[in-house]
Amino acid sequence: MDRLGEWLFFYLVFPGAVFAVALGLALSWVDRKVTALVQWRKGPPPAQPFWDVVKLLGKEVVVPEQGWAAGFLALPFVALAASVLAATLLWHAALGLPGGELGDLVVVFYLLAIPSAAVILGGAASGSPLGAVGASRDMKLALAYELPLAIALLVGVFQRRPLGGDEASAATLSLAGLLRFQELAGAVVERPSGLLALLVAFVCCHAKLGFVPFDLAEADTEIGEGALLEYGGPPLAMFKLTQAVLLATLPVLLVTVFWGGLGGAPGGLAAGAGKLVLLLVAMVLVKNTNPRVRIDQALRFFWGPVTGVALVALALARMGW
């Protein structure tokens, strides 16, 4: 019973739902503020993302007549639940919280695929032609970035390097194990293979977040938010919260697998926060200095150069570079 209580606390309060949502909303404010500064605007006050969600929660739930109502309404909650679980596992490992190991890289990888699957199904369930176009784009995009992302994460797993006359290798899928290895042998990103893998994973996470140039599934000036077109009120708020939680999760994934985690000591924690903000600001800058690409260009980009670089990084990692 004690274990269960502890897990529930992790999942619902810290570092799960409450923490991840609050941090995600704060980070989405950073996104909006930095975007505004780049664009010569003033930007919103810090609480704006929070009030946006509150406003959506107070709105009427409208379900399109021609759609699949149950799926349409349930999927946003599935997306949020999955992203919060991924956030819990990652933050738990990255902060080195007590209570043993909760999950590994494979679980996190699958959990992080659920939100986009939910958006795809939700768009299809809405019965709107624009939703269908958005869902189809999102599906192609997910197929495009999941492969290089998986290869890039494996680079972290296959790390090996000489250590005190012996050879150390990560060879684990456990998040805590990956962190322990980096503590011993140095961060993955310090090696050529790790740096390349981090770049690949960064681009893939950028696409996972649906940021420009990979916002083609929502593309408001083309297909008017695409899969989210028919959503409004609380279900839309759930998708917005999912987005915020992912914003607080994906950089942690990158930091955990490639950059030595967030660190337990206070000084280490500040450095960890710095890494997160650095990754986030880099994403916001990429987002604001590019136009949206077409879906065929995105596919060619991810399956061509990005996967190529990921494979090179994997080969380098096997060779101990």
Partner: protein
Amino acid sequence: MSDPASRKVIEIGPFHPLLEEPVGFSLTVEGERVVAIDARMDYIHKGLERLAQERTYDMVPILLERICGICSVTHSVCFCHAVEDLLGVEIPARAAYIRTILGELERLHSHLLWVGLAGHFIGYNTVFMWSWKYREPVCDLFEMLTGHRQNSALPIVGGVRRDLPVEYFPEARRILDELAGQTARLTAAVLDDPVLSARLRGVGVLAREAALDFGVVGPTARAAGLATDVRRDEPYAAYAEVEWDLVTRDEGDVFAKAVVRLLEIAESIRILRQCFDRLPGGPINLGTLHVPRGEGIGRYEAPRGEDVHYVRSNGTNMPERLKVRAPSFVNIPSFKASCLGAPLADVLITLAACDPCYSCTERAVVLQDRRGGPLPGAPELLAASRRRTAELARELGRPPDLELE
């Protein structure tokens, strides 16, 4: 993918984030490929031609500034051109320079507006915000010189209504200098951006032949290799006296259209500087003019291309008929040549690339046969139009333009 069952209709409009005005595009898509387009343009008919027929020649230019939200100088000056054509008068040199200044300021802010919107349409909101930030001082300058950011109420038949305040010219030059640097950087950034190139090159190509077939005008034509510009072909105002280059590109794609507009911004700044330096003295209008019976045609190079106004007078102080043909009217149908078969994402930026202006284009045609017979088709309408033209020519006592069979 050519299975008709997989076809879907995607409605762009009448209200849509892509559109700054209400218009309806129905795109039939197979997957993401657009196989048919239907356009509906009947949401914002304002009846301005009819209203113009109830106002005196002095009042009409002020009314016509309201045809378009951007081309306010265009329509009022084009109307003045038509009436001056009817009268057979030349406007004073100072008025010609002032009209040139107004026209080029309008071209500046219109092109900057388009660059921003184009950026927004392809999700590049930084370009959107920067471009509109650069546009602000141009509108401020317009206000400084005329008292209003858009509608100057300056053009009148025979010249301009008020003189420009010369004490603001130094400030105007300063704004232009600053803008020249900013737009040069913006142009370089757009031309060098590899992602923009990948996104816009070879997209929505309007080949030279298709451009000729559709009779497109303005930057849409110049980007397809047609060196057409009323300012060069039939110089009005001060365009024959200032130095400037006609910008053309041969590719005909969206990127070429963007390049033409960006380079025209630099040309506009060049023209404006010369006008501020050389503004001649003398009267600014011809005083009160009596408009006799007759008809006149006015042409004007709007930011979007050639604008044409037709005016018929019956000798009273109000036009008997005014007909406006805005440049978008000929540019919009060219999507049939540039969009079909392209992916949805490309079609939408192509639709926006001719800088369509719907409230300028909006003209109601009501076909109604009270006897319940079949509606007339294109040949019958053309024949009716020719008959009417011949009748008008008879009324006005001039030889007919067309020989009727």
